[in-house]
């Protein structure tokens, strides 16, 4: 597709959560230690309200870190300075801007000169398959299309770490599969590091290199499951898929924990 869009900087950056703790007024919301390699896809799974969004928001620079540290590319900068961009669960598009202008907004904020923006916007919208809808306002797009615009807008920031907070949570199963494929194809081109929050065990196992299962609030790591065959198209047919799914569900409190070896590393 479009080679000009691909980050000229090296692709994914390593992420390191070093005993990072995040507090709200009523107590800690997350406390964890985690190392993510460059270009790795890590899925975060945990009970509702455990602090998953909080962790991503901290990495996006939207939430102060109370103790410990978060390092991206070895430095303690977070958010846009660290090329860390976020896809929100909610509709985060600016409703008064068309799809094209939403994507352009990210380019403008990044300081891309006006005359270069137009071409880049077209390439990004093409990448998410929305060229015919470039001039539609968000209210004229379906939920899946809006999330694709959001993805395009986030990619326009040329992130080295992509934070995704249940980006496909509100979509139907079919659209969700399309979006997962789209994400993987984008990832294959860019090798961005991805931290992805989901509620869906299958989604986690389909996309991840590793699945991080979290405890109820404050979020701590309950277990890290390394996926047997990451992003293998036939993964679902293999026995490990079912077993690992059962294991994760059990950790989340649904059913018995199967007697597998502890994969926590």
């Amino acid at each position: 597709m479009s080679s000009a869009v691909v980050a000229s900087t090296d692709a994914g950056a390593p992420v390191e959560l070093d005993k990072m703790r995040i507090d709200y007024a009523d107590g800690p919301a997350a406390h964890l230690d985690l190392k993510v390699s460059p270009g790795e896809i890590v899925m975060l799974l945990g009970p509702s309200g455990c602090g998953k969004s909080t962790i991503l928001r901290a990495l996006a620079g939207l939430q102060p870190i109370a103790a410990g540290a978060a390092r991206i590319d070895g430095l303690v900068r977070l958010g846009p300075e660290a090329h860390c961009a976020m896809v929100f669960q909610e509709d985060a598009l600016l409703p008064w801007r068309t799809a094209r202008r939403n994507v352009e907004f990210a380019l403008a904020l990044r300081g891309v000169p006006r005359r270069e923006r137009k071409q880049l916007v077209l390439e990004l919208l093409d990448q998410v398959g929305l060229t015919p809808f470039a001039d539609h306002l968000p209210k004229q797009l379906s939920g899946g299309m809006r999330q694709r615009v959001q993805l395009a807008r986030t990619l326009a920031a040329e992130p080295r770490v992509l934070l995704m907070d249940e980006p496909f949570g509100a979509l139907d199963a079919q659209t969700r599969l399309d979006m997962q494929e789209l994400l993987i194809s984008v990832w294959r081109q860019r090798r961005t590091t991805i931290l992805f929050v989901t509620h869906d065990v299958d989604e986690a196992l389909l996309l991840a290199d590793r699945v991080v299962v979290l405890t109820p609030r404050p979020a701590r790591i309950a277990r890290i499951v390394a996926v047997a065959h990451p992003r293998d198209p036939d993964a679902q047919l293999q026995p490990e898929f079912g077993l690992q799914g059962k294991e994760i569900l059990a950790l989340l409190g649904h059913g018995q924990l199967p007697p597998t070896e502890d994969r926590k590393d």
Binding site: M86, A92, L109, Q140, A157
Partner: protein
Amino acid sequence: MTTTEERVLQAVPGAEAPPVERALSSPGRGGRLAAAAARSLPIVPIVGAVLAWHLLTTYDVIAWLRFDKVPGPLDVFHSLRVQFETAEFRQHVVSSLGRILSGFALASLVGVVVGIGIGRSKVVAALLRPLIEIARPIPAIALVPLAILLFPTSEQGIIFITFFAAVFPVTVATMHAMKTLPLVWMDAASTLGANRRQVLFHIVLPGAMPAIFSGLSVSMGVAWICVVSAEMISGQFGVGYWTWMSYSLLDYAGVVAGMLTIGALGFTTSWLIERLGRRVNRWLPGEAR
């Protein structure tokens, strides 16, 4: 523009025509008749009122209310035609419009800036909120004597009074809008690297436009009330002044002509604000593209 009644009628199928009429006529003709009836419905009360006015004044009815000195619609129509041909009357209209627009423009600007300031900064809120809460309940028209003392010309005094009346609705609407903006818009912008100024101009201001425009249309209404009253009290020009002068000169047809002119001006300016608001806010879910 469609009126509310028309919209209601369109929304309720079969509400246009009485059932008997529909039963008697063929469906095609019935539909057309019903549509014509629906369109003419808003005109009926207006025609009725003018007719009643005409009859009451022609026969000089005195029944508690006294219509003997009230000019009839024909006198008023005549007066309007004569006045609009004089340069003097047009000058009065222009000077009222000038005052409204300057007072209103100033109020919009100050209202939006102060509203955003109060809504987004604790310091500005602490500084200005008490002052605003004290000043707001004072009816602008009560400031006329003070404005006469304060300003070198009555022109400036009238603009000040208009400004004073119009500034609060915009300020309050903008201030409240700051609290209702979805946080995810700001979060999205700041994760994309927007600084405070960019958040202000690209998120806060466009996001607050629906509320700002509802403040503006309230402001436009009170601005006319105040400009006309101020002109009646202290002006040397303007439609309000002209209307009051007509009363002093016992030109009662002129009084009503002035009234109607003020009404038409108020309607037009409010309509313009409404149109502009719809354009700016056409992204709202309720606005068809």
